[in-house]
Symmetry: D2
Subunit: 168 residues, 4 copies
């Protein structure tokens, strides 16, 4: 996946705000824009990019070996969104194939940050970038530490400079 | 509400397919079409009418004195949709004020049927009609009889010809 | 595709209500349930099945060689929904892989009917069945005959018993 | 509206990040959480807050005398979202009455920034804050200056310190 990422990177300047080294590699998933997701302007309604981000997160975890559904069910651990943002660069249209690129940009004991890029999968144009910050909670919404066994999926090892002991 | 309903009724012929006497009166609620609900054709995306039906159901129950949220929480009784249909007559557009008219057309021990009409609230044009059939279930999805105390809200008394003892 | 369909067919009884011979074969597409599509009952919100139907329609046309986006743009022909219904048999849950099976069950000069089945792609359980009836319209919402060149995609040849000359 | 706003303000500390004086007053609108907007966690799905923001924007303009629908139709002026963010403080639940408070925090020749607060309308708890930045575009997505006649609705007069002549 690295080769492709480097090629893509060469074509545009990544948004400086989401760069926090070290971080994990992007994991990609492709979806097509649904008619339901467009609005009367003829383009994808802005809130739907956050749905694309969710798809990216779930696929990121699945491809790294974590079934998020099981994490909720078996370990009562939910990644509740605390903050979300998106920067829209070019509109996506009905039936466009979208490449959702997802990575973990920061992982601490109780908070995890994902970064996203959405590209047109055929033209490689960058359509949007975004970020979501999550707090690990139990099913009652109480913050908790992410269970030890899940940490490797969120690249805790990849962020040695941010101690797992102190909270953000 | 009767006066207003009669006036509205005078303006158009109700769809014959949803008339099953005896049944409850319509209860109305008005919403505005959101930008998010439109699609690239410039009109409300067809699936969203079922969201309007849900709003109609919840308001129907609230105006009759039943808090559906409490029915789920306190009595573990959910009205799971078993069947849904909609007939689209004229398109609704962004910012249109929609009058959602809801009534119970049939209520049995385990199933409840709602009928809907959606009108443009200013022109009184009929935009859509629909029906949803619900099965009362517990939180595990197992069918159950609607608790006695809730029956009056669903007009069981108004349907004397359909015995509460035999199931449909 | 026939082999796979026949295998799937062997596992359950198709809903008799949607069988109207002759009709086209099913064309399948698989999607995963998104978190956004669930509701507080923990299952897919009922209106979202109509979004799945739309995905099925678009993929049906694409796999038969028709780009629906082009049909709208180049020939000012939209398939506006006139009626939609769904029968819910078993709930779909977050992350479930859903097989959406779509076929044309009737095609006339101005109206097209699609039939759908939604199965859990791993267990082959039938989750829902549905139907949508569409009227061909121009971008102003005026009904028109489907342009000649598109008829083969909708199996007009497959419905010899329903004359293309008389309207429904 | 000022009295009410001051009372509400007294009950919580506004988020410091969205304070940029001078700016317009908040205009409020109240909606109820729909079942469709919840997810399997039992709370409002995070992307739906951006739909609430859109409702707030449209009502803000309506209450100031601008019909956004007409602005699109008659003057070919669309406010395309360039950036959107939301900070989630407490979850909203099914049937909760939400007060969406909207104001313009910056208005320049081609860009307009809206700020939002979402409160539980009964408890006055602050549930979320957010911001959206819009670029004025024609129907082809080309940036343009906001037509002169619309400027007063977006409080250009209220932002004397940000010159209308230079672009951000």
């Amino acid at each position: 996946m690295r080769t492709r990422l480097n090629q893509a990177t060469a074509r545009y300047s990544p948004p400086s705000a989401t760069i926090l080294l070290p971080m994990s590699e992007f994991i990609d998933t492709v979806v097509r824009v649904r008619y339901a997701e467009t609005d009367k302007m003829g383009i994808v309604y802005y809130a739907n990019y956050f749905v694309y981000f969710e798809i990216g997160r779930v696929e990121y975890l699945r491809q790294r070996g974590l079934d998020y559904r099981q994490m909720e069910l078996e370990d009562d651990s939910f990644t509740v969104v605390a903050e979300a943002k998106c920067r829209y660069r070019r509109p996506a249209k009905f039936d466009d194939p979208l490449r959702i690129r997802t990575r973990v940009t920061s992982a601490r004991r109780r908070t995890i940050t994902f970064g996203y890029e959405i590209l047109h999968d055929e033209t490689a144009e960058l359509l949007a970038t975004g970020e979501t910050i999550h707090v690990v909670c139990d099913s009652n919404g109480r913050p908790k530490a992410l269970p030890e066994k899940y940490r490797r999926f969120f690249d805790y090892d990849a962020s040695p400079s941010t101690s797992n002991l102190k909270e953000d």
